[in-house]
Structures are given as C-alpha cells and as structure tokens.
C-alpha cells in the first residue's frame, strides 16, 4: 500500500541521490570508514543562570546563580536506516540534545556533522536550505499544526517554502503524503480540530516527511496519545523509517516502547551518556547501574510478576549542582569511594557496547521473569 507512494515521494522530493545507494537493510557501520549521516562529538550546552528569578528558584543547594550543563560532552553516530533511541529521565538532557543536533538551539561547544558537513559552521542562510534534509516531530502535534490551516495547506506549505513542487503538482503530493502516513485523501480539507490525536500526529509526521528528509528526530512522538493509538503511530514510524531509509533519532522515556523499535539505545543521565549499545544488548545485559535501575523500575503489566521492592532509590541531582565524580554515584547501589572523586569515561565493555562506569555489569540484575 505504501510502497508505490514511497518511490514517487523520494523522486519528487529530490532525495533520489541519497536513496540511490544499494537498498540493503543492513546499516553500514561507521567503523568501516564510511562517514555516518549524523555525527556529534563532545557536544556541550551550558545555560547561564543569572541572579534573576531562575537562579533564585533553583532547587537543590543555596546557589543563586551559576551554569547549568544541560549537555556535558555527548558523542553520537547515526546512520541511514538506523533507529537510535535516546532515553533518560527529566533533566537528563535528551530533549536539549535533539534540539542542539538540529541547531534549533545553539550548542555551546562540540561538533555536529551532517552528511560530512560541519553543521555548526554553516551560516544561517545555508542552514535554512539544509533544513529540508532533517526534520523534527514533537510530542504534541498541536504545536506543529496551525489550527487555522487545513491539513492540505499544512502539508503543501513546506513544499512551497523549499520549492519542492510546483503549485499545480502540490495537491497530488499532498495526497501522496497522506497515503504514506495512512490517512485518506479526504483528510486534506479537514482542520486539525476535526481529527483525533493520533490522526493529528500522523499529519505532523507527513509534514515532516514532505521535504524528503534523510534524518527525522522524534521527541516523545507517542507520549501524548492514548495507549490504544500509540502502537499505530509507532508502527508507522518504524515502517516509514525502513521504507524511506531514514535515520531516526527517537527521544523517549518509555523503555518498553523504545525496545519495540530501536536498533541502538543511548542512556543519558544529567547531561551525559552513561551507556550506549545495540538494543538487544542494552536490554538484555545492561552494564551501567543506572540502566539497571531504570529497567528494574519499569512496571510490568502482569500481577503475577513482582517488581523487586526498593530497586530504585533517590532522584537525579539538580543539574545546577551536579555531584562530583560520577553523576550517578549518590544513587548508585554499588558506588565506591573512587566514584565520588573521578568521572568515569565511556569505555567499551563489549563490541559496540559502551558504559561510563568503573564497575560495569556489577549492579544487581532487573526483574527475574
């Protein structure tokens, strides 16, 4: 159903060159010398808090001003056809990361390369031109859809802005985009408020795909949807990603959901990546004690399975005053003196599996199902 529309979409949007590579399903590993589509190194985002309201209200210590390190040296590689999930709790920096990668907010330091090009060095004008190649889907579709525009107009607008389809060709493209996300052509004259939440998120995804992007960053794309509808949108994202060979960065807090679609997972804590691994590895053999605690905290939809009590302790420290040493050590069940003095660097514990912990794999295991 979607196949025929897909090739037309690719051609019309001008991503033919990108898509012309062998259409294998395997992901080319960056290690073989190929440049990954998206590459970030040492990404840092600092926010200065003055003596104003924010500074005065900061919880935690008594400091009235200072610097928040929302991102504290993040490395990331993402390829076409690959889904990388970024998970973490509030304050982990996962949302800031997504926005910094696309320069929706300016990183304070570090490097971002997109298709080999230094994104941070691009002048604003050129950055705008590149924007059609990387798009974003947000948690709340209402934030990206103007309530006064019909669905058809919302989808035609990016085509016009980026000069991707002549006026006469736009209705056909709009119909194609709707079909791509599983909506009938009759949705085009509708207004957002006439659609359900799941349908609105489909429109937001169609709008992001209108410019034929290579990279899609989805920040909690199904969190605002009903449980019975989440699967529809998640399945759609996975299918579109495979068919269009998109690089998909999925930012999410729901680990069970992430496990459904991610090829690789990155776990963040207080602005740092504490663990990254292929999904099966990470869920099957978590190496960082924080990952183990996260997994042990996920409630199980089965009363016969008892989650171990007391598996989780404490709450993340304030990013205003991150603890010295390993940021997780105050909550860590296996912390030793060294952990409060030195910050463990990410180290490879198995091939492709990195953990920023001096004692990887030693935390108690999650549920014994």
């Amino acid at each position: 159903m979607i196949g025929s529309g897909t090739s037309a979409l690719g051609a019309a949007a001008g991503i033919a060159a990108a898509a012309a590579e062998p259409a294998g399903t395997a992901v080319e590993p960056a290690a073989l010398g190929a440049v990954p589509l998206l590459e970030a190194r040492g990404l840092v985002k600092r926010y200065r808090l003055g003596g104003g309201l924010l500074g005065a209200l900061g919880r935690g210590g008594g400091r009235r001003s200072g610097t928040v390190r929302a991102l504290d040296g993040v490395d990331l590689d993402l390829d076409r056809g690959e889904c990388l999930a970024v998970v973490g709790e509030s304050g982990s920096g996962k949302t800031t990361l997504g926005r910094c990668l696309l320069r929706l907010i300016e990183p304070s330091a570090g490097r971002v390369r997109f298709a080999g090009e230094d994104l941070l060095a691009l002048p604003a004008r050129e950055l705008r031109q590149r924007r059609r190649r990387f798009q974003m889907v947000f948690q709340d579709p209402d934030g990206s859809l103007d309530p006064r525009f019909t669905v058809g107009r919302a989808l035609a607008e990016p085509l016009a802005v980026h000069g991707l389809a002549a006026r006469a060709a736009r209705p056909a493209r709009v119909e194609e985009l709707l079909r791509l996300v599983g909506l009938p052509p009759s949705a085009a004259p509708r207004y957002p408020h006439e659609l359900s939440g799941g349908q609105r998120q489909r429109v937001a995804i169609a709008r992001a795909l209108a410019t034929g992007p290579d990279l899609l960053i989805a920040d909690e794309p199904v969190s605002a949807l009903d449980v019975s509808v989440r699967g529809q949108v998640l399945n759609l994202l996975a299918r579109l990603q495979d068919e269009l060979r998109l690089a998909l960065l999925l930012i999410a807090h729901d680990l069970a959901l992430v496990e459904q679609v991610a090829h690789r997972v990155m776990v963040m804590y207080l602005g740092r990546v504490v663990e990254s691994a292929p999904a099966a590895e990470l869920f099957g053999r978590p190496q960082h004690p924080y990952t183990a605690m996260l997994l042990a905290s996920v409630p199980v939809p089965d009363p016969a399975v008892r989650r171990p009590r007391g598996a989780a302790a404490g709450e993340p420290a304030s990013a205003l005053e991150p603890p010295p040493g390993c940021p997780f050590h105050p909550r860590c069940p296996i912390a030793r003196p060294r952990c409060s003095r030195e910050t463990p660097p990410p180290a490879e514990v198995r091939p492709g599996h990195r953990a920023a912990c001096f004692y990887p794999g030693q935390a108690p295991r999650a549920h014994g199902e």
Partner: protein, 347 residues
Amino acid sequence: MSAAPPLSVDRLTVTVPGPAGPAEAVRGLSFSVGRGEALGLVGESGAGKSLTALALLGLLPAGVTASGRVLVGGEDVLALPERRRRRFRGGRLAMVFQEPAAALNPVFPIGFQVAEAVRAHRRLSRAAARGEALALLEQVALPDARRRFRDFPHRLSGGQRQRVVLAMALAGRPEVLIADEPTTALDVTVQAQILDLLGALRAEYGLAVVLITHDLAVVAETCDRVAVMYAGRLVEEAPAERLFAAPAHPYTRALLAAVPRLGRPAPRGGLPTIPGAVPEPGAAPSGCPFHPRCAEALARCRRDLPALYPLAAPAGGATAGAAVHLARCFLHGEEPQEAAAGGAEAA
C-alpha cells in the same frame, strides 16, 4: 469485611454540557472498595475516569452534574451540603492528583502546610500539629524530613512533593484515598518509589484506594481489583490476577495486547494496535460503545448495549466467592450467540 465497604458507588452518572447539548460522560457506574483494598479504575481519554474522581470527591466543576450515589462510610457525598462535604474531603476522603505542585501552596513551607492539614481535622495545638506533621513526613519517607520541614515546595523534586501531598492526605486519617494518575508526571524510577510507598501506606492504614490511571502496568503492580472503563461505561471488572490472565472483554484484551512489555518486543513495526480512536465524550456510538473498533462485533452490538454479564469463576478457583468477574459483552451473555457479523466491514 462484613461491614459496609468504606466506598460504594451506585449508578453514578455525570452529565457535562456539550456543543450538542448535555452529554453523559460517565454512565451508570457502580463499584465498591473494601477496607485495605485497591481498585484500579483504568481507561483512555474520554473514558470518564477523571470526572469519576471529581464526582467521588464532590469537586465537579460548575455546569457538570452527577446523579446516583457515592457512599463514603454510609453518607452520600453527592447529597451532602457543600460545607459538610468540605469537611469530608481531606478527612475521611483524601485525594492525590497527578500534579503535586497544584496541591501545594507555593508561598508556605511544606511543614506548615502538613501541620495545617492536621489541624483542619483534629483539635491539636500548633506545636502538637507540627510534631504530627513531622511524623507524617517521616512516614512518607521524605528524605531529611526534619531539615526540609521549613522548605518551600519549589525546593523539592516532583517525587518529594508527591510525598508531601501524601502526608497531607494522611493528616485527616482517611478511610478512602482517591489517587488520580498519581505517578504519571513522575520519572520511572521515582514512580517505582511512590508506588511502593502507596502500597505500604495502604497496608498500614487499611486504606480503601481508588487508583485512577491509563497505565495498565501500574494497575498490575498496585491493585487487587480492576475496573476497565470505555466511553463512560464500565466494560469489565475482575480481580487483577484474573483480568490480566483471562481478560474477557474484547477491549480489555486488545488494550492489554497493545501494551508493550519490556523484554518481549513484538516484531519491529508489528506492535498490536486497536484500529480507530476512542470516541469523544458524548459522541459514543449506539449499542456497545466499543463496537466500531471491535474485531468480534456481532450485528446486535450496534443496536443494543450489553449488560454486565457475570463470568464463571475459573475451574479450581479457590476464591470463587469474592472474585466477581463481570464483562459488558454479548460474547459472555446468556443468549445464544449470533454468527459474527465482523467489525471489519465498518472500517
């Protein structure tokens, strides 16, 4: 156990104003919760679960009306004059909502607020109330309770604030606790701690708990019994073990299948889903409200609303007496079943 249950709801109907006239957002809901028991009230948006919570507390907004009975310790909350109802709330009947910040006053220290809650329901000196407040804060395991006593709410994390709200809820020595999405705004590691705390408090005080949530996994962890709502109706009620092991209503079955399970991923892009969307409040279809999305719908499901049919207890079930299992579905009715007309044709 033989006495009247702390909370009993009888044919509760909540009517909300809508563009096309008044609409019934909750329709004929009945359930009861025993001492020390936790009932999970589960549903998606538009199920009517949050309006149910507000109706139980007598907090419905202006223009929204409730009929039926909500008996707390034998008294009908819906029939009480507002003055007496106010004394009920925070007393016998306590509540915890999703957003703890909304339940706390930003300009008073947390210790003071808990002490005030104590004094609102008991004749105690200020000093005695402060002592009681500190004991409550220690009981909800607020870290460093003594030191944090004079802290303002904004100095606390979300999980710590929810602990303070729980301490305030306990101040009136309640029999019934209504918890509406109490952990939805919290991170997963914090949610785990608050759920553990809720369980401990329930056991300690013999609280009757109504846990209102969209999250089936949270219910599985915390509740003895589960009531599933859809489009304002109760569609299934069963002991938790039963509901998760042998769900009877097609909606419950589909919803359970749609919940991803850690460690058991579906094939990529193949997570089971329910077609369509939940109906808007007041726009529920005729007959069974789930029939347009139901794979097993019969012709009569479009016409008639099924009753809540009792299901036979599982063979060899030891606790058959108390373990009522009800499903609002003709598949479990007495009548001879028609040939399936198929819900797919509607789609």
